[in-house]
């Protein structure tokens, strides 16, 4: 597997990890669950000979609600997140999104931080986090910063992180009352298949009026795509199927899909026109308290 002349580091603190990473620059990679990194190194898609393990860095796996935020440590595994009572309570759609990912073995090792930092266009956790207004905590050799999750992604497999920076935490505002979220994903097989297209939607209602709406698309653009036009369309309107169908048309037009093994660009747009209203309908139902 991974290349032969590899050196393994196991820092005991964030500072130490950042410092080692800073020292080796492009030769170094943080190792979280390794479910992306080992494959990338093996296939030659990525090259590095200094592996900086984050397994002993304390406090990076915590999942808790604090200060009105659902705070998920970047090293929390997908399984841990999917089963955390706080997640199940505050943002069940995140659990659902995670359960579509890989198999149990992958979810037991894969971390949410790795899913963000590898930044593949079809990654499944970022869209919902972005839709829910998440902020990311980042620590580097030269200091810390916070940024909206939506601003984290630069392109396929590219993020704003510099080599010494670690994503430490994902902070999602606990959705207020009368809000609901949904993640609708299409893949070619029932499980263990990456998304061909997916849509995350978060809605808030005031009576029969949509007061906030965010729609984020996955696997149909170089980065997770927050569709502002959907927000513009939806806010202030009644949550009805026709409106959601219209949002679907807008989402399909906003996407920048490619054609690949899994489907054509055209097919992906068609899927968006279906998945977007499905996501909005479910989010609306949840906001009204109609569905779990």
């Amino acid at each position: 597997m991974a290349c032969r002349n590899t050196t393994y580091h196991r820092p005991q603190s964030i500072a130490e990890a950042c410092q080692i990473a800073g020292e080796y620059g492009i030769r170094g990679r943080f190792l979280a669950g390794g479910t992306e990194l080992l494959i990338d190194l093996d296939s030659g898609r990525d090259r590095a000979d200094q592996l900086i393990s984050l397994r002993d860095v304390p406090d990076l796996c915590e999942i808790r609600i604090e200060a009105g935020e659902l705070r998920i440590g970047a090293l929390a595994t997908l399984s841990a997140i999917a089963t955390a009572p706080d997640v199940v309570r505050a943002l069940p759609a995140l659990r659902e999104a995670i359960l579509t990912m890989g198999g149990q073995q992958i979810r037991n090792r894969a971390t949410i931080g790795g899913n963000f930092c590898r930044a593949v266009p079809c990654a499944d956790t970022p869209p919902l986090c972005i839709a829910a207004g998440a902020r990311l905590e980042i620590v580097g050799a030269t200091g810390a910063r916070t940024l909206p999750a939506a601003d984290f992604f630069v392109g396929p497999r590219q993020t704003v992180l510099d080599r010494s920076e670690i994503l430490t935490e994902i902070r999602i505002p606990v959705p207020p009352a009368h809000s609901g979220a949904s993640y609708q994903r299409f893949s070619l097989r029932h499980g263990m298949a990456v998304a061909v297209a997916a849509v995350a939607a978060v809605l808030q209602l005031d009576g029969d009026e949509i007061t906030s709406a965010r729609v984020v698309l996955s696997a149909v653009a170089p980065v997770p795509l927050l569709v502002g036009e959907c927000t513009d369309l939806l806010v202030g309107r009644k949550p009805v199927p026709d409106l959601f169908a219209e949002a679907g048309t807008i989402a399909a037009a906003a996407a920048q899909p490619i054609t690949d093994l899994r489907g054509s660009a055209e097919f992906r747009r068609e899927l968006l026109a279906v998945l977007t209203p499905r996501a909005l309908n479910e989010a609306a139902a949840r906001a009204k308290g109609e569905a779990a």
């Binding site: 991974a2 032969r4 050196t7 479910t35 494959i39 592996l51 073995q105 499980g191 068609e270």
Partner: protein, 948 residues
């Protein structure tokens, strides 16, 4: 090499300190450092789950976990599941319920299941699917795995002994003691404990590892190969190229030996084997091949048969003038008079169907070991092979050795489905390297390499035309098929014949014309895959029959019944059908699957469809001309009479022959199944058998075993007769007792009689052999392909739900009715049917190896090449219809391959029923269904016209 790190692991309760490379995965450390080879390497990329172990209570893929990261962890592997010699209830349930076939995925399945029940002792079906979704099983044991997890407690206190009991196949009435019982799978206990040593698990003293370099261009000539960098790498022991191997053409069929061991002048597809290395370990060998530099002069390449046949196309095999126009094999058959047949038809349908290049995808990658013996010119080869005899034969030919100088050993095989029939560069290079080094050499394909080596399903371009009378009676069938053969012949001559010869076995076709072209392309070579050549043309015909039925207002089952094959018929192409209960399979399908209530009554998006098929029970003729009987067996009764050993070199690849053959032996001998030991498949221990292909082993191997058993029994009965003072002919042996048929109280223990026999005259041995009836088939060219002592028949009914907005298909249910003759073992029988359905589902809906415009594969893995998971598996009800085949042992035929051909048509027809879309190109993807729905909307909706 970097510095090793000392880590501590608690493995199965024992603390182990190991020094590891930082880059070493836990999988490789377990297998190579700790010798715990029960954990399997199916893909080493997280996609298959065969490497699953439990780390600190959680199931993980050990191939994606660096050993250094597991430092300090508690690890449970399959070897730690049984405690104190007592199997875990999950293990027992897996064996008893048939939740394993080839067993290669099984350790991973068990560990995933164990982690699940530790967290959640009463999981729901959805939770089981969620937890085992990452564990692929190509044999398709999913339904039984679910059952085993749910019912595991039932087996907690059971032993794995097989208690004698009556025939328990519910649909057949027989008076047998062992045949017809779901006895404990012979290879089950070793496969659920990790004890089974597959080829890659074998560790020989002084063994080194080889690796092969594949071409990077699809078509070209080799200008220069520079191996100096590879040779200079520390740990590299040998590097070979085409110049270092025997200068000989080899292959499968003598009529078309068109392969080189390593390319000398020309490469013909991306991946074509060019050079090989041997090194002290796998990692070094992997690194070394990457250092070999090859300069190619590229030639124009072709990637589909039509372009390959174009006059201007570059020749792929210019060395042989027979292959002009890149046509590898041409078949022209014309039976009856199709012109007249079509003229007599009331209704004619014609359509082009295009298949897919599916890959068998066994979870075990191919592996081989070669060792030259110090004693004479003798060679031992271990190979994960379905047809060890053909490999032995080919190795003898290539290395100019008598076959007797080669000891061929077939360890357990982790699935084949046709991928492991032929001699590969693995065996050939291992032999060459082993000779150079004087050390055993192990060679393995990685997942990527095995897909490149391919020998998967031929993609067929089928133009089929069928004419019928108003009542549905077929008047003529015509088909013209182009088969994409890839770069070499492999089994392809046989494939192109099968694609034509099997159509008339199912339906009575009075006039039939077939034009087959197997064409070379610059893609990996196609070969034999489950249902060899048949599933795609069968899908085409089953689709057309439904279309014709619709046009004529006939029920799809009705049109099939009208044309169904009948027993004791000679087909238009001179194949002799003996037993045939095809009509019964159709009638039972109609009456018992809910067909009458559901067909035409389901809401939009839901559909029910029927598909039929079948296969040969062994080929009438061997691959190369030979007078050897096809199957040969030897039975030796042990000294104390309490055991017999069965020696037969068949290939257990998951299909269950290691269980079925001992059952046949026990039944014929009249002893309990548990008395039978099976000798290893080793040419020194057992006489030859042609192998596990063409679904031949139950019938042919079974007949040889039955004959050997009868020969041994005669000797025992003689002694018994003398002891009882009666004519041995009047004696019956059953369940370990020998008694006078008319006076059952006059009896002697089987073991007692056997002990006496041994004491008097030494070993009691019986031998048996089987060859198909002589003279099978007609006299025309190619008449041999399709001949068989017996044919199977099946009808499958499928129910689907189609998401009309996304095109997604969920196959919900299958009801299968098979005529496979007598069922020897219900669990393995129904397991084959389920596995065939699940594999067929993958072929219909998911699978295709895709290449780019340079001929490189886009998905040579299990990440982009999707095979069904546990969540894709439908509910399956499998039934054996009452049937008896006079040529089969106890009336048995075959099930392993015939179960697949019906599936494609059944699903396609169910999809058509659900949404009115007929997709004529495989796989039937959601995208193609959406296109069809869009076309339909434009043309005016069928659904609103035809449906309430």
């Amino acid at each position: 090499m970097s510095e090793q790190v000392l880590i501590t692991l608690t493995v199965n309760g024992q603390e182990r300190a190991v020094a590891v490379e930082p880059s070493a995965t836990l999988l490789r450390v377990l297998r190579d450092e700790l010798q715990l080879t029960g954990t399997k390497a199916g893909c080493e990329a997280g996609d298959c789950g065969s490497c699953t172990v439990i780390v600190d209570g959680e199931a993980v893929n050990s191939c994606l976990l660096l050993a250094v990261e597991a430092d300090g962890a508690a690890i449970t592997t399959i070897e730690g599941l049984a405690t104190g010699g007592e199997l875990h209830e999950l293990q027992k349930a897996f064996v008893k319920l048939g939740a394993l076939q080839c067993g290669y995925c099984t350790p991973g399945q068990l560990m995933a299941a164990k982690a699940l029940i530790d967290h959640n002792p009463q999981p729901s079906r959805a939770e089981i699917r969620q937890a085992l979704g990452g564990n692929l099983c190509r044999c398709g044991t999913y339904p039984r795995i679910i059952e085993a997890i749910e019912q595991r407690h039932t087996f907690a206190d059971e032993t794995l002994d097989t208690k004698p009991g009556p025939h328990d196949e519910r649909d057949q009435k027989r008076d047998h003691a062992v045949v017809g019982q779901s006895v404990t799978r012979y290879d089950g206990p070793d496969k659920v404990t990790g004890r089974s040593l597959y080829t890659a698990d074998i560790r020989l003293l002084d063994m080194v590892y080889g690796k092969i370099l594949g071409s990077t261009v699809a078509h070209g000539t080799i200008k220069r190969i520079d191996t100096s960098a590879a040779r200079a790498l520390p740990g590299v022991l040998a590097v070979i190229t085409g110049e270092d191997v025997p200068d000989i053409w080899y292959g499968v069929s003598p009529a078309r030996y068109d392969e080189r061991i390593l390319a000398t002048e020309r490469v013909r597809y991306v991946g074509d084997e060019v050079a090989a290395v041997a090194a002290i370990d796998e990692e070094t060998a992997e690194q070394a091949v990457a250092l070999i530099e090859v300069q190619y002069e590229e030639l124009p390449a072709v990637f589909d048969p039509e372009s390959a046949m174009a006059p201007e196309a570059e020749l792929i095999h210019p060395e042989d003038p027979r292959f002009a126009g890149n046509i590898n094999t041409r078949v022209e058959w014309d039976f009856g008079d199709v012109e007249q047949g079509f003229a007599a038809a009331d209704c004619i349908r014609e359509q082009r169907f295009v298949g897919n290049r599916t890959y068998q995808s066994p979870i075990e990658p191919h592996a081989a070991i070669a060792r030259w013996e110090h004693h004479g010119e003798r060679l031992t080869v271990w190979s994960s092979s379905q047809a060890p005899h053909y490999k032995q034969h080919m190795l003898a030919r290539v290395f100019e050795l008598p076959m007797g100088n080669i000891r061929m050993i077939r360890p357990p095989v982790g699935g084949g489905f046709g991928a492991k029939c032929e001699t590969t560069p693995l065996e050939l290079c291992a032999v060459v390297l082993a000779r150079q080094l004087g050390r055993p050499v192990m060679m393995k394909y990685s997942r990527r390499e095995m897909v490149y080596h391919f020998r998967g399903r031929h993609k067929q371009y089928i133009d089929m035309k069928i004419g019928v009378k108003k009542d549905g009676t077929i008047t003529a069938v015509q088909s013209r098929i182009l088969l994409d053969g890839g770069a070499y012949t492999s089994f392809g001559i046989i494939t192109v014949y099968y694609a034509g010869s099997m159509l008339p076995t199912l339906y009575k076709i009075p006039n039939y014309k077939y034009d087959g072209y197997r064409v070379y392309t610059n893609l990996p070579a196609s070969g034999a895959m489950r249902g060899h050549g048949v599933p795609q043309p069968r899908w085409a015909m089953e689709s057309l029959l439904d279309d014709l039925a619709e046009e004529l207002g006939l029920d799809p089952i009705e049109i099939r019944l009208r044309n169904a094959m009948e027993p004791n018929t000679r087909t238009i192409n001179d194949l002799d059908i003996s037993s045939c209960e095809f009509k019964k399979t159709l009638e039972r399908a109609r009456d018992e699957s809910g067909w009458l209530e559901k067909r035409g009554q389901l809401p939009p998006g839901k559909g029910i469809g029927v598909g039929c098929g079948g296969f040969v029970s062994g080929a009438g003729y061997p691959i190369y001309r030979s007078d050897f009987p096809h199957s040969n067996a030897l039975i030796r009764v042990h000294e104390d009479g309490k055991a017999v050993s069965l020696h037969i070199a068949t290939a257990e690849i998951g299909q269950g022959c290691d269980t079925v053959l001992p059952q046949i032996a026990a039944e014929e001998l009249g002893i309990p199944y548990d008395w039978v030991w099976l000798a290893e498949c080793d040419s020194v221990l057992a006489p030859t058998d042609l192998g596990s292909y063409a679904s031949r082993v139950t019938l042919m191997g079974g007949n040889a075993v039955k004959m050997a058993a009868a020969a041994a029994k005669v000797q025992i009965l003689k002694v018994a007769g003398r002891q009882l003072g009666c004519d041995p002919h009047g004696l019956t042996a059953r369940d370990g007792r020998i008694f006078v048929a008319e006076h059952p109280e006059l009896a002697i223990g089987w073991d007692e009689a056997a002990r006496l026999a041994f004491s008097e005259s030494g070993p009691v041995v019986g031998t048996g052999c089987y060859r198909p009836p002589p003279g099978l088939g007609g006299k025309y060219k190619g008449a041999a392909v399709g001949t068989s002592p017996a044919y199977s028949f099946a009808t499958s009914v499928c129910e689907v739900a189609v998401d009309l907005e996304t095109g997604a298909v969920k196959v919900e249910r299958f009801s299968d009715f098979s005529d496979a003759g007598t069922v020897i073992n219900p669990v393995t029988f129904h397991g084959q049917v389920e596995g065939g359905i699940i594999m067929g589902l993958g072929e219909t809906l998911l699978e295709d190896t895709v290449h780019d415009d340079t001929g490189a594969l886009v998905n040579p893995d299990l990440h982009g090449y999707l095979i069904p998971t546990i969540s894709d598996a439908p509910e399956i009800e499998s039934h054996a219809v009452e049937s008896y085949e006079p040529h089969g042992p106890f009336g048995a035929k075959e099930i392993g391959e015939g179960c697949l051909p019906p599936i494609l048509g059944a699903i396609a027809n169910a999809i058509y029923d659900a949404c009115g879309v007929r997709v004529t190109e495989l796989p039937i993807t959601p995208e193609k269904i959406l296109r069809g729905l869009a076309t339909q909307r434009q043309a005016g909706s069928k659904l609103s016209d035809d449906r309430p």
